[in-house]
């Protein structure tokens, strides 16, 4: 049992809990309005947005899973770095438009926008459902990340009593999200991000020195893992896998409801463009964290008897927690673990808020109670945020963690299928909503089938074209298929049918 680390961890948790509840009074607004509860009143400036998006996108699971991937598969796991580089140019160009049109028409979700732009309820419902379904396992994985560090502190995370720390953390999260809305994760993100920066800087200064320098660390890694293996003559091998994983993940990231919520809560398009320039600071942190995977390798934690039980329970996800325990003093282990643990609360809160926004605006108000008042809307959203988190908790406690990982993998393939409707929709109304809906359905089915042929263990599908194999991210391939189908069907529909759907937006709304 890591007692010193546990005290520090618990103290920091209590601190952010108090912050989470106090956040309701921060730049106070009427929290009985969904725009105030679910988007923080759209008043966040450059710095708060930076902390909020940093806390939202670079999740606890990322901090555990990226180094774990590098630890197990080597260079291929480093695709997370080009991935985060490619994201921000898109944010710079696309999201000030999204923000402007959302502000003009009071859109809170991507589905709101699709409804307004295409006037087609079916397509809007598809976008809302995809968002909800793709995000649920993502919340579950945050709890998996949290459970890993709680386990590393020495708690037995199995059995009824073993689940107590996770349940307590969950109750805290649920309570402050309910009462403070998006203001809570925005405020807590500041603490979480500072802790992460401190941890990573310390790790990068202290650990390589203790292990004998970078050259020694990389010498310990098998050479075939240090770079991507040269592909065979008839295949692009890991090269196309690396590139498509980076591109596909980058396209998918900002289609996730929690990213959308984070961006729309900014106070202007300018704040978003500024953030595209300063958010890469987190990418650097992520890159350094990825290298922790090799440090874990070089430190030999995987073969040390005191960590055997942890690796048996949590697999490669235990690599970074084990490395910290091995290399840091007790009190600093507490800080590092709190960074990861609190790092789970921020995205989990924002994800549950995003799901709540989607359900309330695009399902409840649309189909169940069209005459609901603003207060009704906020009340339902708060309740749904609880249900979403409770669902994720039950998922982690009752089902296998592997299932959450597999569903999260599918979630990436599903969410990217909303790209043509959402991103292209910001630039043109040319695509027909019915064509987009068919493209979406084909993309979802093909992508799920690809994952099925890989036994849901991987998302790198060996696409064969003209006798040449191009292993690549299934999300990347299927969204291309989706786009092709949407375009062809639009041309066909233009030729045979004339029915026009409404568009409540005009060109000037986007600037």
């Amino acid at each position: 049992m890591q007692w010193t680390a546990t005290y520090v961890f618990a103290a920091l948790f209590v601190f952010v809990t108090v912050m989470g509840f106090a956040a309701a009074r921060w730049r106070a607004g009427d929290l009985n309005h969904i725009n105030e509860w679910g988007l923080g009143g759209q008043r966040f400036g450059t710095i708060v947005t930076w902390f909020l998006l940093g806390g939202d996108l670079y999740t606890a699971y990322t901090f555990i899973a990226v180094p774990a991937a590098v630890f197990t598969i080597g260079a291929l796991g480093f695709f997370a770095v080009p991935y985060t580089i490619l994201v921000y140019p898109m944010v710079f160009v696309i999201f000030p438009r999204m923000w402007a049109v959302a502000r003009k028409h009071g859109f809170v979700t991507a589905s709101d926008f699709v409804k307004g732009r295409y006037g087609h309820s079916g397509l809007a419902l598809a976008v809302a459902l995809t968002g909800i379904v793709a995000t649920m396992p993502y919340i579950a994985l945050q709890l998996v990340g949290l459970e890993t560090v709680i386990g590393a502190l020495g708690f037995d995370t199995h059995g009824a009593m073993g689940h107590m720390p996770l349940i307590i953390a969950f109750l805290i999260l649920a309570a402050f999200t309910y009462s403070s809305g998006l203001r809570a994760p925005a405020m807590i993100a500041i603490v979480k991000d500072l802790l992460i920066y401190i941890t990573v800087i310390a790790a990068i200064v202290i650990i390589p020195a203790q292990l004998g320098g970078w050259a020694t660390i990389f010498a310990a890694v098998p050479p075939e893992k240090v770079t991507l293996p040269t592909p065979p003559a008839d295949s692009l091998g890991t090269w196309s896998a690396y590139v498509t994983l980076a591109f596909g993940s980058a396209f998918a990231l900002f289609l996730y409801p929690h990213s959308m919520t984070g961006v729309l809560s900014a106070s202007s398009g300018k704040v978003i463009r500024r953030n595209a320039a300063i958010l890469p600071a987190y990418s650097l942190v992520l890159a350094l964290l990825a290298l922790l995977g090799y440090m874990a390798y070089a430190s030999g934690v995987a073969t040390k008897p005191e960590f055997a039980e942890g690796f048996a329970k949590y697999g490669a996800n235990f690599a970074v927690p084990a490395l910290f325990i091995d290399q840091f003093q007790g009190w600093f282990v507490g800080i590092a673990f709190a960074a990861i643990g609190i790092g789970a609360l921020v995205p989990a809160a924002i994800m549950s808020i995003a799901i709540a926004n989607l359900y309330t605006r695009n399902i409840y108000k649309e189909y169940l109670k069209s005459d609901c008042t603003a207060a009704d809307e906020a009340r339902v959203a708060k309740l749904v945020s609880l249900v979403a988190k409770a669902g994720a908790l039950v998922f982690v406690l009752a089902l296998d963690t592997k299932l959450a990982i597999q569903l999260q993998l599918l979630g990436g393939i599903w969410i990217i299928q909303t790209l043509p409707a959402v991103f292209f929709g910001l630039y043109t109304r040319w695509l027909d909503p019915r064509a987009l809906l068919v493209g979406w359905a084909v993309g979802i089915c093909t992508g799920t089938w690809m994952a099925y042929t890989l036994n849901f263990k991987s998302s790198t599908y060996p696409l064969e074209l003209f006798g040449y194999t191009m292993p690549g991210y299934a999300a990347f391939y299927t969204v291309i298929l989706n786009i092709i189908i949407s375009v062809i069907l639009t041309i066909v529909l233009r030729a045979v049918a004339k029915r026009e759907h409404g568009d409540m937006t005009v060109a000037s709304d986007y600037a």
């Binding site: 580089i85 160009v93 320098g213 970078w214 980076a246 320039a277 000037s508």
Partner: protein
């Protein structure tokens, strides 16, 4: 909700020098060409090229974005 008069102003101002924007998409090209960075030498204080080169691109990409932001930013906006 901003009133419509504000909105009209934002629309009329927009961004300057839009032709600079494609610059920030440079990493899309460089990251596609895997053989250009998939090697160990030259190392940087023991870190293989594959890793430090891609980390340097995080910095280049941020600097490009800051440059393009400043060059395209229209002060009248907001």
């Amino acid at each position: 909700m901003p009133d419509n008069k504000d909105k009209a102003q934002i629309t009329s101002s927009g961004l300057k020098r839009r032709w600079l924007i494609p610059l920030i998409f440079l990493p899309f090209l460089t990251s596609l060409w895997v053989p250009s960075y998939n090697r160990i030498e030259p190392t940087l204080s023991g870190i293989p090229f594959f890793y430090w080169y891609q980390m340097v691109w995080i910095g280049i990409s941020a600097v490009l974005t800051i440059f393009v932001y400043l060059a395209t930013n229209n002060k009248e906006e907001e």
